[in-house]
């Protein structure tokens, strides 16, 4: 599966008057495409801090001590605010716990919903056009080089019989550009008509239902909408033969309605609607031609489409396209990819050699010399940058972020030296003052803050780690290079180009945005969306506001959605509705979701994988089934036993006490104080992550081979037993 987001060794502290609060302590996780990762824990466990750091919206007193959050070949902890503008809300969206903090109180709801859609739509068009042009240009250049240097084989393995000149190759790529945009033009026209038909149909069904139930409210508005939608459905492959009939029906509809309103009897309207419904249903059942193939034919054959049934037409167009263009294009593209892979493999080897040299410099004993270190680093960065194969669609995150990570680590090291001195000085001064007061016999009512010193050896090790990781990664890449499936990668490349082309053409207009916004509002369960579209946030209740926020986040069509307790303030029916909506969108768009909550019921519904956090650390993670059916960490047990479900009768097991003070985090396991299963070693040493299965890990000494065998509390085992039985019945 494709990794969307990686969090590595993340450590975040907050500077406060009493000292540094360690909110997040060394956490690691990945988020894959199309999965939901749930982060569970009490308030103050660092779950919200983690998610906020992904959006660069941590509070001002936060210090990111170490770590990386890698998204799309960039390290989100180190990019500038300008770059963040392109990511925040557009690629990574967040639903906040408190709806009022993310709505503008003096702007109408409708504007807030459509604003982002329109702005982001424009930005996306631009960005997609650039990505499309750059990739195609790079591809054509690589093709030319590959053919010029010769000796590269085609898809099936034989040598290329006929080679082409540079001009011919450039033309192939230009042709692709031209007909791809023709294809999208056709497809968009079709999609618009089809979507209108689908929506008109659902609106008609709704109105017919209300007429039947004698509860038809604001008829004029609804009928106007239907007429609007239905008149957009004329297209070659949607409403074609019946176009005249549909037009006639629509033109009479409003008149019939006004007569019906007067008599308060909607039979005539209902009849007309039923016949419109039949036309639309027939239109939607039609077969769809392949517009990609058709685009090429129309653009280059210079002839009109032959008259034949759709299935045959598809076959015909496929043959035409393959014969004249596609096979050739794919062959050359694949050749280019192979060539590029070989070239960059060599460059990777060169980078490895450079890395070995650099390691020697970085891991020298004693303190490092700034000049030599920087020289070595620059040479290495240059080699690594040169070794990135930019034709690869899946960006190699480690190589892409290498220079920021390395520079950051080096900077950290050299900044630490003066900073440590200053911190020590401040501390000494304070201590002296304290001692002086004590000597006078006064007991000061303040405490001496311990100096926050950065360990230089650790900082040095961080630099080496960055390089080590690159070496391991490159060695792995070189080892598996022989197994690469270039045919597959070529198809992926073409898909990438197609996607960017379609995004370039996709223009969000105001009326489209409004229509989409109203639909979204209805989807999140806001009644009378049309009316409420014009209202201000204060006119909505808390639950309604939360739904608006969810609609805003979904409107931007993000890549990653972070949900920070989105449904905690809502009641069950709406909660279920919204979770269903998020799940549906996730399926449709292959969205990756980070879901933060303390409600285990909701987690069970949403999560593919679960990470349980306590005191800034992940104490257990695994798939949803593993965490619920065989929890391993005492904290997970405690969470499971502290909330009732529908069959619970016994006394709940509350977790005694409160989470530890994170200014002075405990030496051992942070949960030891509240844990009745704590072993002696829990108070002395932090447990490492023990592996239970490939996907299930937990950090508790109970899993150590020498640990006594401990069973989870009865309330938990009982519940698991019940769940298993229930699973058996169904």
């Amino acid at each position: 599966m494709e990794k969307k987001l990686e969090v590595k060794n993340l450590r975040i502290s907050f500077k406060t008057a009493n000292g540094k609060v360690q909110a997040v302590r060394n956490i690691n996780f990945e988020l894959y495409k199309g999965e939901t990762l749930a982060i569970v824990g009490e308030s103050g466990s660092g779950k919200s801090v983690t998610s906020k750091s992904m959006l660069g919206i941590l509070a001002g007193n936060a210090i990111i001590e170490s770590g990386e959050i890698i998204y799309d070949g960039r390290d989100l902890l180190k990019i500038t605010e300008d770059e963040f503008y392109r990511i925040r809300g557009d690629k990574i969206a967040m639903i906040f716990q408190d709806p009022m903090s993310s709505l503008n109180p003096i702007m109408r709801i409708g504007k807030q919903l459509t604003e982002a859609m329109i702005l982001k739509g424009k930005a996306r068009q631009k960005a997609s056009r650039i990505a499309f042009n750059d990739t195609l240009k790079l591809l054509s250049e690589t093709m030319i080089k590959a053919i010029a240097e010769g000796g590269y084989t085609s898809v099936s393995g034989e040598k290329l019989a006929k080679t082409k000149s540079a001009d011919e190759l450039t033309k192939i790529c230009k042709d692709f550009d031209a007909f791809e945009f023709k294809h999208i033009e056709l497809e968009q026209a079709y999609n618009e008509a089809k979507e209108s038909a689908v929506e008109a149909l659902s609106a008609i069904v709704d109105v017919l239902f209300h007429i039947e139930k004698n509860a038809f409210a604001d008829p004029k508005e609804k009928i106007r909408e239907i007429v609007n939608l239905a008149s957009k459905t004329y297209n070659e492959y949607v409403v074609k033969e019946d176009a005249a009939e549909l037009k006639a029906l629509l033109s009479k509809l409003t008149k019939k309605l006004s007569a019906d309103i007067k008599s308060n009897n909607y039979t005539a309207t209902a009849e007309a609607l039923t016949s419109i419904k039949a036309i639309l249903e027939a239109a939607l059942a039609k077969e769809v031609p392949n517009f990609f193939r058709m685009g090429y034919y129309l653009k280059f054959s210079g002839k009109a489409l032959p008259e034949m049934p759709v299935a045959e037409l598809n076959e015909f167009l496929l043959n035409y396209l393959n014969e004249h263009f596609m096979l050739e294009f794919l062959t050359y593209a694949e050749t280019a990819l192979k060539y590029s892979a070989l070239v960059y493999a060599e460059k990777k080897k060169a980078a490895l050699a450079e890395a070995a040299k650099a390691i020697a410099v970085f891991s020298a004993d004693g303190s490092l010399d700034k000049k030599t270190v920087e020289a070595a680093a620059n040479a290495l960065i240059e080699a690594v940058e040169a070794s990135i194969d930019r034709l690869e669609i899946n960006k190699d995150s480690i190589a892409y972020t290498f220079h920021t990570s390395l520079n950051y680590a080096i900077e950290n090291y050299f900044n630490a030296i003066p900073r440590n001195a200053a911190a020590q000085k401040a501390h000494d001064k304070q201590q002296a003052k304290y001692d002086a007061l004590c000597a006078k016999g006064k007991k000061p009512d303040w405490k001496v803050i311990p100096a926050a010193l950065i360990n230089l050896d650790d900082a040095k090790q961080d630099i080496v780690n960055v390089v080590d990781r690159l070496i391991a990664h490159y060695e792995h890449l070189l080892a598996v290079a022989a197994n690469r499936d270039f045919a597959k990668e070529t198809v992926a490349l073409v898909d990438f180009l197609k996607l960017n082309a379609s995004e370039t053409v996709y223009k969000v207009t105001k009326s489209m945005a409004k229509h989409k916004a109203i639909k979204l509002m209805e989807e999140v369960g806001i009644q009378e969306a049309r009316k409420r579209f014009k209202q201000y946030p204060f006119e909505f209740s808390g639950g309604m506001r939360q739904r608006i926020v969810i609609a805003v986040a979904l409107a931007a069509n993000p890549d990653i959605l972070i949900c920070d307790e989105p449904t905690t303030a809502l009641d069950v029916t709406i909660q279920a509705q919204i979770l269903e909506l998020i799940n549906k969108i996730k399926e449709e768009r292959q969205l990756s979701i980070i879901f933060i909550t303390h409600d285990l019921g909701v987690v069970a519904n949403m999560a593919d994988r679960i990470a349980v956090m306590y005191a800034g650390k992940i104490v257990e993670y695994g798939t949803a089934e593993e965490v619920f059916y065989s929890p391993a960490h005492p904290y997970t047990w405690a969470l499971l036993s502290s909330m009732p479900d529908l069959d619970t009768n016994e006394r709940l097991e509350a977790i005694p006490g409160t989470p530890p003070n994170m200014i002075y985090p405990p030496v051992g396991d942070a949960f030891a104080d509240r844990n009745k299963y704590a072993l002696e070693i829990d108070f002395e040493m932090q447990p490492p992550m023990f592996k239970i299965t490939e996907t299930h890990h937990a950090a508790t000494w109970l899993l150590h081979e020498n640990a006594p065998k401990v069973d989870p509390p009865k309330i938990v085992t009982d519940r698991i037993e019940r769940m298993k039985n229930r699973g058996g019945e169904e």
Partner: protein, 354 residues
């Protein structure tokens, strides 16, 4: 808990309108001594309004609230409506030339209604204060419901002082006893609310309620603003207190798992109406009203496999009911199980249960 069936609080035809918005519309139920009565429903369905109307935070529009047999709140709209209707009738009767006897009867009816209304107004105004202090409330948000500038002692003792207690020593003693009862210590009395965690704050809210030695507590979403681990602490505390003090609790919440765990009987509300009322186990075993079914089908459980199969039932009043011929009323299907339905549905539900 001498008599299990003694009715402590009775709500009859309670209506609470805010201008045209019918927040609570004709709701009736009775809470028996020593039981926990759960009130569930989606936000905006009027469950909090019901709780607040009972302790007279709002002047109710119509209906009566009886506490220990005494009417403590009453509304006048029903009488006014009846009088207006009778007056209109008289006009009509006069126009159609009816006999004087008929008109007299109507006039007598109006006089009766007026007397009843006067009684209601009198009861509402002169509600015995010492009786009302036996009803106490715990609020949803522990942070917002505690005055940040008062110490814990002042917060807890405020009710006693308002009710005329002057002896400082006695007040302190009582406050300390309450603190102990809710799991805090004496030393906490001199601190301010911000020094406490969420769970501890809610404990202070509970202490403030029980110091008045109430017989019934109205707990309005007491745990929904709290963390999971703390929720369990507060639920356990309320459970203990209920056993020790023999408290009756009107428990308002939207988390059905908690309500099921905590309540003896449950009333389900939908848009200001009570749609189903039954024993907790009975309600979850045999939900009858389609809204209850929909509500129950939406509860998420901490069980991934079950969750993947769970199908939510949607509720649309238009689809589910046909009230074109006969409107619904609250009817008893089996002893103790009430459902809001009309005759046709009544028969259907009865056959469903068999």
């Amino acid at each position: 808990m001498e008599n299990k069936n003694e009715v402590l609080l009775e709500v009859k035809n309670l209506c609470q309108y805010f201008k045209i918005n019918k927040a609570v519309d004709d709701v009736s139920f009775a809470v028996k001594k020593g039981e926990v009565f759960g009130l569930v429903g989606e936000s905006g369905c009027g469950k909090t309004t019901t709780g607040r109307s009972i302790i007279r935070l709002y002047d109710i529009t119509s209906g009566d609230v009886y506490f220990k047999g005494t009417r403590i709140a009453a509304g006048t709209k029903s009488y006014k409506d009846a009088i207006a209707k009778a007056k209109a009738d008289i006009k009509q009767l006069k126009a159609s030339g009816a006999s004087a006897a008929e008109i007299d009867e109507k006039n007598k009816f109006i006089a009766d209604q007026k007397a009843a209304m006067a009684a209601a107004i009198h009861d509402h105004k002169h509600c015995p204060k010492d009786l009302v202090t036996k009803i106490q409330m715990i609020f949803q948000d522990p942070i917002a419901s505690l005055d940040p500038r008062m110490t814990v002692r002042d917060i807890i003792a405020e009710g006693l002082i308002i009710n005329g207690m002057k002896d400082k020593k006695e007040i302190d003693e009582k406050v300390f006893k309450m603190l102990e009862m809710v799991g805090l210590v004496k030393e906490h009395a001199s601190r301010y609310p911000h020094e406490f965690s969420g769970g501890q704050k809610q404990r202070i809210g509970v202490a403030r309620a029980i110091i008045m030695e109430p017989e019934i507590i109205i707990a309005d979403e007491p745990v929904s603003a709290l963390d999971v681990s703390i929720q369990a602490q507060v639920i356990n505390l309320l459970n203990d207190l209920r056993r020790e003090l023999g408290l009756t609790i009107l428990f308002i919440a939207h988390d059905l798992s908690v309500v099921k765990y905590f309540s003896d009987r449950i009333g389900v509300m939908y848009f200001g109406k009570m749609v189903e009322l039954a024993d907790a186990d009975e309600l979850f075993k045999n939900p009858l009203h389609p809204y209850t079914k929909s509500l129950l089908s939406a509860i998420p459980l901490p069980d991934p496999q079950y969750e993947k199969q769970r199908k939510r039932i949607k509720y649309d009043p238009l689809e589910s009911h046909d009230y074109s011929e006969e409107g619904p009323t609250l009817r008893e299907i089996t002893p103790g199980h009430f459902v809001y339905c009309n005759t046709a549905e009544f028969e259907k539900y009865k056959s469903e249960l068999k």
